[in-house]
């Protein structure tokens, strides 16, 4: 992997969104046969940069060169034609089309002008197999797949285009360790085949495993490019956030749980997705949910929050059975639940509405008197939340969609904290969030717990569960397979119980191959 002439170069790229400066004279240079990691905190401009590369967004200034020739992509299709293919942070799959349709979307095989569905299916199956996702049926509709499967489809789709430069923007953020290892195997093979790969992730361990070159971005500009492994994690993180960085996870307090649990589930079952789940959650406690993705963790959170119908079993709050039939009831006084949902863009926020409207949206009943909003009180609540979570926004009257992913996520959390919930359910809240922000969130969770909140925390990232949780329930096939307490919570234990029966060794082999 000697430094050859760069395959692709970007110079002096700038992009503004209204008053927001997303990129300022950014540079990047990519070579063939290597994996190039891009690092940076939320809002650093990573996604914007690769969107420009992929022809989705037009730069305000700057130039791009492919094979030494200046290029200018008018559309994603043009970039594709030049061999640049991107797996975007926001998934770019068509929900109503089948997996096969999605994978072979840009130039399907045709006969007499019509798409040859047999040939297409064959190609799709090949691509799925290459991506290590042969378990996905090519005829199933994308909208019926869970997020993690969709991400695999997205990767298969990129592979099917036979790219020269493949860009993955947080493509693994929703994947579990098993899937990640499959994807890594693919990426390494592609590197060996001579492709140039651009890889964006907030997971430092992934970057350590994959990257050959690294570039760090901050505030829309390149801070440094360096060969992988030449800098320590701490150094890198300090470059990213521009300040010193200490241990990520706050210490766990030793505390004897006493009294009636705030939340208790007894024998919860729902369709074939949840089976006989029982647990209790005390004030001041952070209870983790682990296991492979799609083992019923999300359903459990939704069930507690009153979203699922036909739930069997009982939920007790403060020892008394309650029937929660809707989020409105779940958040009501006496129960005081909050749910940070899975997908902030479709479930947590109204993107075109202002930060202000979004922040107060879950607390409208609190902020109104006789149905009329008390503006002073609203402003006061909002100010407190903006400082508490250090939300970075141009103006609170700007649309929340203009914030970076991490800041959007903070808004989702803040809008619920505004209600001072007694029980907080979190559905993978740190997905696609930079280390700095993650750290803030961990600290916040611990503080909330110390102040008496009960927290139920699902994460696809084992490290988080280990670092944050007092206890972890590992789910498999809709049932609690194991409860890990305190020091028992180790990566080894988590993985072993997540896989239920499979041996831990084979898992490690998979990751290494």
């Amino acid at each position: 992997m000697e430094s050859a002439a760069p395959l692709f170069r970007m110079e002096g790229i700038s992009k503004r969104y209204g008053g927001v400066r997303a990129l300022e004279k950014a540079d990047l240079s990519v070579r063939a046969g290597a994996i190039h990691a891009i690092l940076g905190e939320n809002g650093a401009g990573k996604s914007t940069l690769i969107k420009i590369m992929a022809g989705v967004v037009a730069p305000d200034e700057g130039q791009m060169m492919l094979d030494g020739r200046a290029v200018d992509f008018a559309s994603p299709a043009a970039a594709n034609d030049a061999g640049i293919v991107c797996v975007f942070q926001e998934l770019s799959l068509i929900p109503e089309l089948s997996v096969a349709d999605n994978i072979i979307i840009s130039n399907p095989p045709t006969r007499f002008g019509m798409i040859d569905r047999k040939a297409q299916r064959r190609l799709a199956e090949e691509a799925l197999a290459r991506a290590g996702a042969a378990d996905i049926h090519p005829l199933s509709l994308v909208k019926d797949l869970p997020l993690s499967r969709r991400q695999m489809v997205e990767i298969a789709k990129a592979l099917a285009r036979k790219p020269r430069i493949l860009i993955l923007d947080e493509a693994t953020s929703a994947l579990t360790a098993a899937d990640v290892s499959k994807v890594f195997a693919v990426l390494k093979r592609l590197r060996a085949e001579g492709l140039a790969l651009l890889y964006i992730s907030h997971r430092m361990n992934e970057i350590a495993e994959l990257a050959d070159d690294c570039t760090v971005f901050r505030n829309g500009s390149k801070v440094a490019s360096y060969p992988a492994g030449s800098k320590s994690d701490e150094e890198v993180i300090e470059m990213m956030i521009g300040r010193e960085y200490h241990s990520v996870y706050p210490p766990k307090p030793e505390r004897a749980l006493q009294g009636v649990p705030v939340l208790e589930a007894r024998n919860l079952s729902w369709t074939d997705r949840l089976q006989d789940i029982s647990f209790s959650l005390h004030a001041g406690e952070i209870l983790g949910l682990g296991g492979l993705d799609g083992q019923g963790q999300r359903d459990l959170l939704l069930a507690l929050f009153g979203v699922l119908r036909g739930l069997r079993g009982t939920v007790h709050v403060d020892g008394k059975p309650v029937g929660i039939g809707s989020p409105a009831q779940a958040r009501a006084q006496g129960i005081g639940m909050a749910l940070i949902p899975e997908d902030r863009k479709t479930e947590g926020l109204m993107l075109p509405m202002t930060v202000r409207d979004n922040l107060s949206f879950a607390s409208l009943d609190r902020l109104t008197r006789g149905g009329i909003i008390d503006s002073a009180k609203e402003q006061d609540f909002i100010d407190r939340m903006m400082t508490l979570l250090a939300i970075k926004a141009g103006s609170i009257d700007a649309p929340v969609g203009a914030l970076s992913g991490g800041n959007q996520q903070k808004v989702v959390i803040a809008k619920w904290l505004m209600r001072q919930p007694r029980t907080i359910l979190l559905n993978d809240p740190t997905r696609g969030i930079d280390v700095g922000t993650k750290q803030e969130i961990y600290q916040l969770l611990r503080r909330l717990a110390d102040e008496g909140a009960a927290i139920l925390f699902y994460s696809t990232d084992y490290a988080e569960l280990i670092g944050c949780c007092d206890r972890v329930l590992v789910l498999y096939d809709g049932a609690v397979k194991r409860e890990l307490v305190g020091a028992e919570i180790t990566e080894h234990a988590l993985i072993a119980s997540a896989l239920n029966i499979r041996s831990v060794e084979s898992m490690h082999e998979g990751a290494a191959s």
Binding site: V56, V57, A58, F305, V307, S326, P327, A328, A330, R331, A332, L339, P341, T346, E347, G348, L349, M350, L351, P352, M353, V355, R356, D357, S360, F361, A362, L364, D365, L367, T368, G371, I372, I373, S375, Q379, I382, D383, M386, A390, I391, K392, A393, G394, S395, I396, D397, K415
Partner: protein
């Protein structure tokens, strides 16, 4: 780190460019009209237009609420007719009936709205189709009713007074009524939890539901209000014409939608201001009136009407470019 800035004064918010351009178009229309006849600028004519616009204004208010939710209400024609006919019919039942005529008419509209609301919010049928069906049902009920009961259909004195009377000489009451309803709508949309919820649902219903909003109730209320306002528009129209007729509402469906959208409200929901709707209503009314008075065959009028709407929308109603 950027600190959150303070809130911009409300009026700056409300004057988005679309609304300003819409008002600009109104002035342009009047100027163009005055080239044809000086009378287009006479106070008499302008007041007359304002009066006629008020009926559309009341109806479009309900339509806007529904459109903000990302829905649409195609039951306007027969909700208008039902309101008018039922109010007049109630008056046949003694002094008590006369007194309750107006509320009764509105109530009938609310009932239609409630059926729409049940269909959209609880049965989750697309609004475009439920409201189409309730419109057909309302028409059926009115036909049975007219044929079977030879109802009274002349407006009560109170209806006449609301529509044509002048509390302040020269300015018809109906203009005040529209102003009142409009003011209430501005308040509701801007300052109440209900209004926020409407915008929220229009932007993303799923997120609104997960935020603990009783989305079905809000949708239900919005359709009920829309039905009620349509019926109230019908009541006022009956007062204006001094009687009710079956076909009263036919001429209000498409103009109501067009007015709301010309006013800058997104048909996809979640975005729009009431001031824009006011501008849209006046625009449509003026356009129809000027075209009707100019001596031109119907064909030419239709063509110009359509072209004008397209042109105005191209001027300011375009979605932002995607790149």
């Amino acid at each position: 780190m950027t600190r959150a800035t303070g809130r911009k004064p409300g009026f700056i918010h409300r004057f988005d460019p679309a609304v300003l351009t819409a008002f600009g178009c109104i002035i342009l229309l009047l100027v163009l009209g005055s080239l044809y006849s000086r009378n287009f600028l006479s106070p008499d004519y302008l007041l007359q237009q304002l009066k006629v616009a008020s009926f559309l204004g009341v109806i479009a208010t309900g339509m806007m609420l529904v459109i903000l939710l990302g829905q649409i209400d195609l039951s306007v024609p027969w909700a208008v007719a039902t309101g008018a006919m039922m109010a007049c019919a109630a008056a046949a039942y003694g002094p008590f009936g006369v007194a309750l005529a107006i509320p009764f008419g509105i109530l009938c509209g609310v009932a239609i709205g409630v059926v729409n609301g049940i269909g959209v919010a609880y049965l989750r049928i697309p609004s475009m189709i439920v409201t189409l069906a309730t419109n057909a049902v309302a028409q059926g009920v009115m036909v049975v009713y007219t044929g079977g009961f030879s109802p009274q259909d002349s407006a009560t004195a109170a209806m006449r007074y609301l529509a044509t009377g002048g509390l302040i000489p020269g300015i018809p009451n109906v203009v005040f009524i529209w102003a009142l309803i409009g003011g209430a709508m501005v308040f509701v949309l801007g300052r109440t939890g209900f209004g926020r919820a409407v915008y929220g649902i229009g932007n993303r219903e799923r997120a609104a539901y997960l935020s603990g909003i009783n989305t079905r109730r809000i949708v239900m209320i919005a359709f009920a209000v829309s039905g009620g306002l349509s019926a109230f528009g019908g009541v006022l129209l009956a007062g204006y014409a001094s009687k009710a007729a079956q076909s009263m509402g036919d001429a209000y469906l498409l103009p109501a939608i067009a007015a709301v959208v010309l006013g800058g409200t997104s048909i996809l929901g979640g975005r729009g201001t009431y001031l824009g709707t006011v501008a849209g209503v006046i625009l449509i009314t003026l356009l129809q009136s000027i075209l009707s008075v100019m001596q031109m065959p119907e064909a030419g009028r239709q063509i110009i009407y359509g072209l004008m709407i397209v042109l105005m929308l191209l001027l300011y109603g375009r979605a932002p470019a995607s790149r």
